[in-house]
Amino acid sequence: MTGDTKAIKDHAALADAFNADEPRVNWHDETLWFIRQKRDKAAHTIPDWEQLRETASRIKHNVLSNLHDYLLQFESNAKANGIIVHWAADAAEHNQIVHAILQKHKVDRIVKSKSMLTEECHLNDYLAENGIEVIDTDLGERIVQLAKEPPSHIVLPCIHKKKEEIGDLFHEHLGTPAGMADPQVLTEAARQHLRETFLTRRAALTGVNFAIAETGEFVICTNEGNADMGAHLADVHIACMGIEKLIPKREHLGVFLRLLARSATGQPITTYSSHFKKPREGHELHLVLVDNGRSTQLGRENFRNSLKCIRCGACMNTCPVYRRSGGHSYHTAVAGPIGSILAPNLDMKKNADLPFASTLCGSCSNVCPVKIDIHDQLYKWRQVIVKEGYADKKKRLGMKAMTQAFASPTTFQLAGKAGRWFMRNVPFVVNNNLNPWYKQREMPAPPKESFGEWYQKNRKKTDE
């Protein structure tokens, strides 16, 4: 996945590979659309939904504008609670800190619950190189780990996998009968296998959903209970979080916990929302605060709002490009619309293609529970990337046309030759009327044809 040679495939090439199997693409598309619909149903049961989003957005704006003080407040309260606080400037330092804690305790096998931050830092690879075995305990993450793949979605790590494939993996690794693909049976097999693991590991690593400046505690949300099983059984609990996960007060959880699961999967709340304030008597609780580019993003006026993200995944479920190209086509830990804003901040050259993997339809911004202007930011990244010279030639020309088109909707609508050229060269931008002038629509109908067909049709139109 890593390396900076130009051999890395870009989003379009990876999407093509994903699109080789058309029924599968349709299935992927429909599954995510189904989750998006569940989100809608859940949101519509809350009359105050829009006010909740607005409130959450404002709290996050305040956090970003006062992050320095909140970090200090959080640190001092967490320390007073008995939590050992570490600071990591980048992924490498994060990995070293975790490794050092494990070395100190002479631990060489750990359990880990879902943490996109550790994916971002490639912690598993680093620990493996240092002789430490990591077992992911979220079922979806365990499945992709057995398949030696990264998660393809931040909430639904193996959403790209068919149950038969999971059955094969479990047959090979967990000894389930060949051909067994019943989710109930497979989940039970994973439960047995991971229970044994929970009971024998002395260190547990978890992510963090929210950290509270006022109290120095942090909150982890899961449906499976895997974070709790790991943390409460282990001698050492290490929690890792990006510095943007802070919220000012405990009462603000009332706002965020109402939004998170409803936006993610349509559930009214996750099964467990666990608040860790103090370590268990006689045990160590470590918390690693990680920057890894976040303070830089905070300084980018046009993109700092991306740090409001609470990682619900709604923008992916609704995105017509994500649904039809799959999470792996984004070649970055966090896929989809939000990932395409976060990734160029870390490496503009390597991720120059991602802001172009969008129709700019605006559906992501409309579902985002903290009201991030996702599609506007994608558009702004395109401009930066072109200006900095990171776009390939095709996109550079495309950008010129796009800039013109966006400058004048009339030109865009009446565009004859230019418009056709535009569609030929920047196919993501115009199709099915998906363009920035359609913002008022909550969501365009899910495209019925495959990514390839969809792409081809638009190419053909240009030749008519």
Partner: protein, 195 residues
């Protein structure tokens, strides 16, 4: 400079001008019957709900529902003849791996999402409600409140080392979005509303 100081310096340099923190508006619910709302949501997320007059009544129901349970832990004295009393706090949590049923009180129930609030004031060991095969929580009807905001009105200043909202049995839909109850935590959750 330490990473701590350099991160803090970069944040201070790059954060925008202060935007004031506003009060959270007071959200209200029009729900007239909180117990009913709670029950409907609880059932929809896989819990079983029973309205009972006494702990004794809850006990009889549980004995029937979980007749096969061998190891039962309950903090309620009414269970003394069928269950172990709650373990002392320095018990090795691993020794709870074979608990079939744990019966615990919850402080609060939230009608909008059927979440129940439990802290270490109710938990002899943090791992207990997760590691047991089946969990039962008892909540007084008058402690069912409408929304999460109301829950935090109550617990916003509460002191605890660990607290958790539990909403339903542990579950996953990671395999092709098929819902399976009983991922890593309790396979079932029985909620007793004490009226």
């Amino acid at each position: 400079m330490s990473s701590r100081d350099s991160i803090l310096a970069a944040v201070a340099r790059n954060q925008p001008e202060l935007l004031p923190l506003q009060e959270v508006p007071s959200f209200a619910s029009e729900e007239a019957n909180l117990g009913e709302k709670f029950s409907t949501v609880a059932v929809s997320i896989g819990s079983k709900v029973f309205r009972v007059q006494s702990i004794e009544e809850a006990k009889q129901i549980l004995l029937k529902e979980h007749s096969g349970a061998r190891r039962v832990i309950s903090v309620f004295p009414e269970f003394a003849d069928v269950a172990e009393a709650s373990p002392v706090s320095d018990t090795d949590p691993h020794t709870l791996a074979d608990v079939d049923l744990a019966v615990l009180p919850a402080q609060l129930g939230v009608a909008e999402n059927a979440a129940l609030w439990v802290t270490d004031a109710q938990l002899p060991l943090r791992v207990l409600p997760f590691i047991c095969q089946n969990l039962a929580l008892v909540v007084p009807q008058q402690n069912i409140i409408p929304l999460m905001h109301h829950a935090y009105d109550v617990i916003g200043a509460q002191e605890y080392g660990f607290g958790t909202f539990i909403a339903g049995p542990s579950k996953t839909a990671d395999i092709e979005q098929s819902l399976v109850l009983g991922a890593h935590g309790a396979r079932t959750l029985s909620v007793f509303i004490l009226v």
